[in-house]
Assembly symmetry: D2
Homo-oligomer: 341 residues x 4
């Protein structure tokens, strides 16, 4: 049985595990004040071509989103997100628990357009009741999106321009960033993200680490006392070096830039097989997630060999499932599935 239900089913890249073993009993100071964590942060600053950035290591995606969004918004501000955005749907209200409204806009295949943000801001700014309303304070994007789609560099630049016009911060959730960076269709680099956003995070959990996300704040003055904010949110790992080790290894020899490649190879193979078999996909995604629209009869025969996640039922005879490959997916698994199609 092949499982393609999600991209966080495996543990860590072998290099990370070896490194953890090597330093396991070497005493380290707590809370990320160790030299390995320093080294990881330095490597990330270099990869982002942003020598002034503050880099902090948190544990998971929902936590990172809640901490960063809370740190960047004033109490009267909310965050703009696509209705399908992770912060809007699948974080159990973590953003609201921190006091902020998620202002949802319709997206397209998971993406928010600069034009829709511009419209929203214009409508808000010309509303006579705007002082009785939540102020838009930030745009939240994910790269790749929850649907595996990618923002183009031009789109990001337009979004930055809208943010500048309306005093919004721009934040990018990079839970699956490695699968964008390894994708030929992608033209947004780490330095682009550092140049265009107010904060973004480089996902570890889904991209080769046991766990962990690296937050990059290009202008550290935007979040004074970030360390204490992280502590207050219960997001400070006592043995911070566990995160340092993982990201130090992910950014040694540019491993992070390549680690998504096997996922994309597997996904491309499956996409080619789907096309050959005349099976359409619900979303045209170039990264590690694939959303085939399957006849239910075919689905039940596939089910014996491959496990995906239920996505939606567009009509009574068809089902959309999500297949997610990962850095650890063997190409042979994809080939088995392709042969079956």
């Amino acid at each position: 049985m092949i499982s393609l239900t999600s991209d966080y089913e495996e543990g860590a890249h072998p290099r990370i595990l070896h490194r953890l073993e090597a330093v396991n009993l070497v005493k380290q100071p707590g809370y990320g004040t160790d030299t390995i964590t320093d080294s990881a942060a330095a490597r990330i600053r270099a990869a982002c071509a942003c020598p002034e950035a503050e880099v902090r290591f948190l544990i998971g995606g929902t936590q990172t989103n809640a901490v960063v969004i809370g740190a960047l918004l004033a109490p009267y501000e909310g965050v703009l997100a696509a209705g399908t955005g992770h912060v809007a749907v699948h974080e159990a209200g973590a953003i609201e628990a921190g006091g902020h409204k998620v202002l949802t806009l319709p997206g397209e295949a998971g993406k928010l357009s600069a034009a829709s943000v511009e419209d929203f801001c214009h409508t808000f700014e010309t509303d006579g009741n705007r002082d009785h309303m939540v102020h838009p304070g930030m745009v939240y994007l994910s790269q790749p999106t929850e649907y595996g789609t990618l923002y183009r560099l031009e789109e990001l630049k337009s979004m930055r321009a809208v943010c500048d016009r309306h005093g919004l911060r721009l934040y990018v959730d990079g839970a699956r960033l490695a699968y964008a960076l390894a994708c030929p269709a992608n033209d947004v680099s780490l330095p682009d993200l550092a140049r265009l956003t107010d904060a973004f995070y480089i996902g570890g959990t889904k991209c080769g680490a046991l766990f962990g996300e690296a937050v990059v704040v290009p202008d550290p003055a935007l979040i004074p006392h970030f360390f204490t904010i992280i502590k207050q949110r219960g997001a400070l790992l006592a043995k911070g070096w566990l995160l340092g080790v993982q990201f130090d290894e992910l950014f040694r020899d540019d491993l992070y830039l390549r680690i998504g490649a096997p996922a994309l190879a597997a996904a491309d193979l499956i996409r080619a097989a789907l096309e050959k078999a005349g099976i359409p996909t619900a979303i045209n995604s170039p990264t590690n997630q694939i959303f085939p629209i399957l006849e239910d009869t075919r689905l039940s025969s596939l089910d014996r060999v491959v496990e995906g996640s239920f996505w939606e039922k567009p009509d009574p005879e068809h089902t959309v499932i999500r297949l997610a490959t990962s850095w650890a997916t063997p190409l042979s698994d994809a080939q088995t599935l392709a042969d079956l199609l």
Copy 2:
């Protein structure tokens, strides 16, 4: 110049002001522990035919919504509301500031249907990711709605049934309740609200008081230590008797049940004139708010005599405005406007 911009432009009903003067220098204990407040609460319990209810007096609508919703929800729960609901749009994120998501559903003319709540709950309960999502915990309605429309008794009963099936609380915002109670088209009484909801409030600010809203909790066990919750939210008036006096007067001789009548008489007169003049309304509202769709040329001539609030622009040549009458609107003002039409 006649202003019909809102229903809270005037002060209090003369009876209230006289009563305030009469007791102004009579010493009263603080925080609503006085006998006048006791009397007001007793009158409201009687009017609601709910002798066990807890009645508390708060100051304004946004405050009341935030306090009651916060008191009735668990941290992981959100409140279902029409997308046009006051809590969803015009309270500057007060519900989210208290940690709860407002889960919006499309409404019709300001109203939420039991069927749409049922659908939402069904979808939530069958979603494999539901434990990663905000749980629906409450339905928020307003009677009349922000669009002046009314829930029928049958609709409220259906909503109660849905709430019972899915473990939701039902809360009704009665900021303009007097304008429902005085409306011939209305068939929902105070005892109905007490029987069918978990909490509701009887609006004072827009209905003859200087300020104040009376919260009714039919089963007080639902909100233990409500007094302290109110205090913590900064919603406890030191001179609570100011609220007691106002509601004691509003519920003496059933004044509250009649106080909306002049507003409805004025509104009906305007509605008749609009119909005669062939001017359609955007929303078919039977209470004290009217939403005529005016040609812009006509609007500019009206503007010299009557002031309303801009509502929306359905097309380049027309504008919808809102006209709101109140308990204090002279019928002559409505007649002037009718003559003009």
Copy 3:
């Protein structure tokens, strides 16, 4: 029976009630955007000799403290207060409900010393774990204090200097400010408060208004979008002009500066009688609160004529009670009590 249990037992100064009656049915725009409120704010700016100040009118003390403190602190900051401070004890955790710790220091007769704040900051700044701790962000004082004592101008200046040295904001709760301003022992004026604090409030509820507190923010840039913050906290009165009218009247002809005088005359008379009768006081307070230490036998005979509030029991035979006079206390009441002593 004479009640001296608190200074908010009566309604409003007659001038205020007359003014309310006069404008009761004059239509006003909502939320304090009316001209009467503008006038009140202008008078207060003039009285504070601070033409740039932002003046906002809120409803009660706990609400005002929670809103202002929340607006002035970063999420990782707490507020320093005397252990007896109102925010520390009697606001049901309103400050914590907004996410901030109240950092209590021992006070003396309700007062916090600049030296104790300096010590606290020094200890904090030299603590190796400071980044794991709540940062001091503000000093909260009350003038007069909860014990009726007064800060001297020199003391306030020293406190300001400490705040400047350590990056703290200085906030003064003036719930009973009129009783300081009318007290001969006081040397702190409104312009002093405007010059030395980052925010303070001028109490109305206990000082002649029906209700209401006027917040003064000398440098408005410190609290951007204060209006929306107030709305979000449920502290925005729909008929804001009710507050405007009251403060416009309180600051017309400098009424506010004189309104406390009758309270002080009554209190001085009682203090003189206590001294003559050889009855000590627990706290040496020059304003409208008196804390006699009474033998229990004497207390029970007094109880038939005068009602105060229980304060504490220093030993089995004595009781400290609090007597509070107000702007409305007849001198004859004080004389009756004096005669009794």
Copy 4:
């Protein structure tokens, strides 16, 4: 150089690391829904003799305290803790950020007495202003305390009785629980904790795990939807099996009950040497933390060989330092230090 600065300087017990390696590439479902996590929970329920308990795995101590305390308190309740309690001082206000006041009481050597809690509750319940105050809702203890001291079983029973009398929940922070369980002076077992508390956590981070704390809720009905609460707080690990593996291993063969033994052996050796050398300790702690009062001259010579943490300066010539041994401290390190003394 020997470091005894803290008990979380090393990684994990070798058994844990081997187990992680073994399952690293075996696919597991997310969020702790895997069979390894089930097994870990089952082992903990067995060790606690509490077959009904809900067991959840969180990541760190501050996070666990904030999540559990928030889940067990009503909005108007606070948590009673010793002034030296971790939640009161070193969690950057995480409890207040969740809306709850920490009500501190003086402790003795880090311990809170049942009598002081009883006194507090009695004073609160007889205070005429209690409805304006934060209600005590919970007692927070740590076992061992931040000072390494232990609650005796009789003390815990008394605390439980006080909690029952006053409607308080009882919560125990077991960040260092292994060092209590391995200590001959300890008479409180895991089944005792499960029987006497409403919730407690079994510390992993300081007791042999890479990271992780196991929360035990003996009566799961006390915290409905705990999973969603954890998610909302950003405390749900995507690869929950990482925690499952660690606790499954810690509770296989009762490893957790023995894992603290080397720390105690090392600490006892140091304590004996201190006594022999006539060096007093500031706190009489029987577990893995030692607080010698050193002459500053001696301290500077020790400093070359052993690193501890500065604790306090009782007088100009002496310094108290904290030495913390751990499960990984070699006895030879303790011997080196002992020889030096």
